[in-house]
Amino acid sequence: MDNRILARFLLDLESFMKRPFSRREYLLFQSKAGLLLAAGASGFLLPSPLKALDVPDIGIAVGGPGPATRAAVDLLGGMKAFVKQGQSVVIKPNMSFTGGVDDATNTNPEVVRELVAMCNEAGASRVRVLDNPLRPSELCIESFREACSLFDDDVVHALTNKAFFREVSIPGAETLKKTEIMRDVLESDVLIAAPVAKSHGSTGVSLSMKGMMGLILNRTVMHWRYDLHTAIVDLCRVLQPRLVVIDGTRVLSSGGPGGPGTVLKENTVIASRDMVAADAQAVSMFTWYGQKMEPRQVKHIRIAHERGLGRMDIEHLTRKKIQV
């Protein structure tokens, strides 16, 4: 097991010590600590991947949007490994732009639809597809609403109003000490990041980590008050998805995030539990402005790796790729 769990535990501990807590939280915490100790004692916490056999750190599937999405998640053990019966799920795609699928500025609605379907199959009590879009919300989410209409009218929402956010402090943050996060996300059991793979003029790429900025109310402050890269990593300390599914069906290789730019047809979906690893995989496997780049060249990926949020050294991780 990698040291992420330990890091997260310490993080929890830190925040836990700093605030008053209820009895219930205390018990929960104790049980977590107990589990961790037990895991450590049984050798489960060794820095090598000793998880269930055959489950790779990164699953990559090539094919049509829907099937590739399903296949990539199946490589990691299927949606049941992430969503338990009765749990509530928030899926965060990119739906900040009004463009069509070919513009590659938004996540492919078919990828999102497949994820919603899989969550439903896994027994999720409620699934929400949420983003805080830049352009008028109705125009942005139209295609997603359409794609998800077969489930429930109320799956897709664009939330921009302050009423839907709640301020939380970010323990262990270097710069972004607090921010307002979507209530839905805070109160749900599972967060799934489903970004489209695209370039970004100021952060190199916009993938799962950068995409978390779509779950907060005031993201412009991250640009001017703080160092953007550091602030992204800070934000990801509280917003760590349980599952990351990167839509590389089309990749906006240049001109991102808003386009227009070069769109590559890659027909690829990347899945991982580690947001840093997933992002690193996308950086290294696609071409950016006609060049091959390394994960460490994306500053927020590098910082996240250094701060133990996840791993960008994908060459040391297990990866599995299939064609569907």
Binding site: D102, S199, S202, S254, G259, P260
Partner: protein, 549 residues
């Protein structure tokens, strides 16, 4: 409840509903600006000012023809401002002024004021300035309800939604749980408060004070109802008790209660209702009183003075610094914040046509349309401008032109809307996070719907910096709206190179001037613009933007 009361309630409700539906996307069976188009004052002043009959305003002519038959029925049955004044009259105690016949008589001469105002407004419009802003009853009502009362209503409704949200959330009433209301905010609300407050406050002096003495639209109706076909008639049996005289809201009953001043009578039938003898009726071609008493003529001298004042106002406006000759010569003072809505006709014509009703501002989905004060000179008070800091002008929306009752803002289809350039953005490098503070920001590039902002690498600056391609910029203001630099934005839209046409195609003009407006998100594209501009890396070996070594 009389037919008239029902008509009045329906009319006010319809007014509210249409105003509520004046929004983007525009969906309404009845034109949402129909009330404004019924106002004969708007018709007359824009006719006098622009010297053209505006077809949009022909409904006002129909109302005038009906007035020949029904008298000032508009004032009692339709006018939402009149109904509002009635409500205020009921709520504000009047200290029984109507019981003092002396005071009432002393006010009779005020009746002429509305005619003088009418002449003044028409003369001013003819000489080049529209001063209708505080005089058109429909414009006043629209501004009062659309930009003052509705925002407050939204604020309260939004608060109520927030209040019940714990419940809707808990019980999964999703539509309510995720409902939220963006409250519009408007500049110069105090002007509307003062003007409408004064009008309604006149209830302290007399009921329907505005309608009786001041309303220039009422003056036009009065001219058309000197002897309407359906008119008040008092049959035998009147005891001259004077009750009708005392209670007539329009003060339209003469010294002898059997006489009626038809030009003042709104046909509200209050007199018929209160008459203890039940001798008052409103038949077709009823008997006129002895003298069609006190039929008022404004007086030649007064009319000439009003006309003179109006012409002078126009002349003064032409010597105002903000007055525009309509050319681009040096010496034209064009205020940099005076960004007009897309489709606004050339400035001077625009100001003569715009009646300051504020319906465009009410309808604007991003709340960017705001009233301006002196930026357009004396003649431009309360006219609409785009305030990008408040909101961007949304590319697929052209609702302002669709709701404009006078055509001051033209009705544009989506393609023409994109071409109706309102200004050009430019970057204040000394404020820009990228240029001045080496911060990787570039939000402007991200949000620009037209791909008009380009990021380039510049020697000595570690991050890529934004440049505006003025040939692609429509002035929509997305960049200025989202610019994270506090207070003044580091990217600013000014009305440079705006396209203002009273006739003809914006897209053709845009093409002639070499503009390439390509809505990158694919909602609207210029017809011949099939190709996709792929701005690939002229990476002179350098890194792609945003990456590090």
């Amino acid at each position: 409840m009389t037919v008239l009361k029902i008509a009045r309630i329906i009319s006010l409700l319809l007014f509210f509903i249409l105003l509520f539906y004046a929004t983007f996307p525009l969906v309404s069976l009845i034109p949402v600006d129909i009330f404004l188009r019924l106002d004969p004052l708007i018709f007359a002043v824009t006719l006098s000012g622009s010297r053209t009959v505006i077809p949009l305003l022909l409904p006002a002519v129909i109302i005038l023809l009906l007035t020949l038959v029904l008298g000032r029925f508009f004032c009692s049955a339709i006018c939402p401002l009149g109904t509002t004044i009635d409500i205020a009259d009921r709520m504000i105690p009047q200290g029984n002024p109507e019981h003092d016949p002396g005071k009432k008589r002393a006010r009779t001469h005020l009746v002429r004021v509305k005619y003088l105002l009418l002449i003044f407004l028409l003369a001013a419009a003819a000489s080049g300035i529209s001063l209708i802003l505080v005089f058109s009853p429909m414009a006043l009502a629209t501004r009062l309800y659309g930009t003052l009362i509705m925002p407050v209503f939204f604020l309260v409704a939004g608060g109520a939604l927030d209040l019940i949200r714990p419940l809707t959330w808990e019980f999964d009433i999703t539509t309510l749980a995720y409902a939220s209301i963006d409250v519009p905010r408007f500049a110069l609300t105090w002007v509307t408060v003062l003007v409408t407050g004064a009008i309604l406050g006149c209830a302290l002096i007399a009921p329907r004070f505005w309608c009786r003495y001041l309303c220039p639209a009422g003056a036009i109706f009065a001219v058309f109802s000197r002897r309407p076909l359906i008119r008040r008639t008092v049959s035998e049996g009147c005891t001259r008790c004077g009750l009708c005289q005392e209670l007539c809201p329009m003060d339209a009953i003469g010294e002898d209660p059997r006489d009626t001043v038809y030009s003042e009578c709104s046909g509200c039938r209050v007199c018929a209702g209160v008459c203890p003898e039940r001798v008052i009726s409103f038949p077709l071609r009823g008997r006129t009183g002895k003298k069609a008493a006190q039929e008022f003529s404004a007086g030649r001298r007064g009319l000439l003075a009003a006309a003179g004042a109006g012409i002078s106002a126009g002349l003064i406006a032409r010597t105002d610094l903000g007055y525009r000759t309509g050319t681009d010569e040096p010496g034209e003072v064009h205020h940099p914040a005076l960004i007009r809505p897309p489709g606004a006709i050339p400035e001077n014509e625009f100001l003569l046509r715009c009646v300051r009703c504020g319906i465009c501002m009410k309808a604007c989905p991003t709340n960017t349309l705001q009233p301006t004060w002196f930026e357009a000179g004396l003649a431009g008070m309360m006219s609409p401008v785009i305030r990008p800091r408040r909101g961007p002008c949304e590319p697929p929306c052209a609702v302002c032109g669709h709701v404009c009752p006078t055509g001051a803002i033209r009705t544009l289809n989506p393609e023409e809307k994109i071409c109706a350039k309102v200004g050009t953005a430019y970057i204040l490098r000394h404020k820009c996070l990228a240029w001045e503070f080496d911060q990787p920001c570039l939000i402007c590039e991200e949000v620009c719907p037209y791909g008009a902002i380009e990021l380039r690498t510049v020697d000595g600056i570690p991050v890529t910096v934004p440049f505006v391609d003025e040939k692609k910029c429509t002035g929509c203001g997305y960049c200025e709206y989202y610019c994270p630099v506090q207070a003044g934005s580091a990217v600013v839209v000014e009305p440079m190179d705006e396209i203002r046409l009273s006739l003809g195609s914006y897209c053709e003009t845009a093409r002639e001037r070499g503009f390439i407006f390509d809505e990158k998100d694919g909602l609207v594209r210029l017809p011949e613009d099939g190709h996709r501009d792929t701005k690939i890396p002229e990476s002179d070996g350098g890194l792609p933007p945003g990456f590090t070594e």
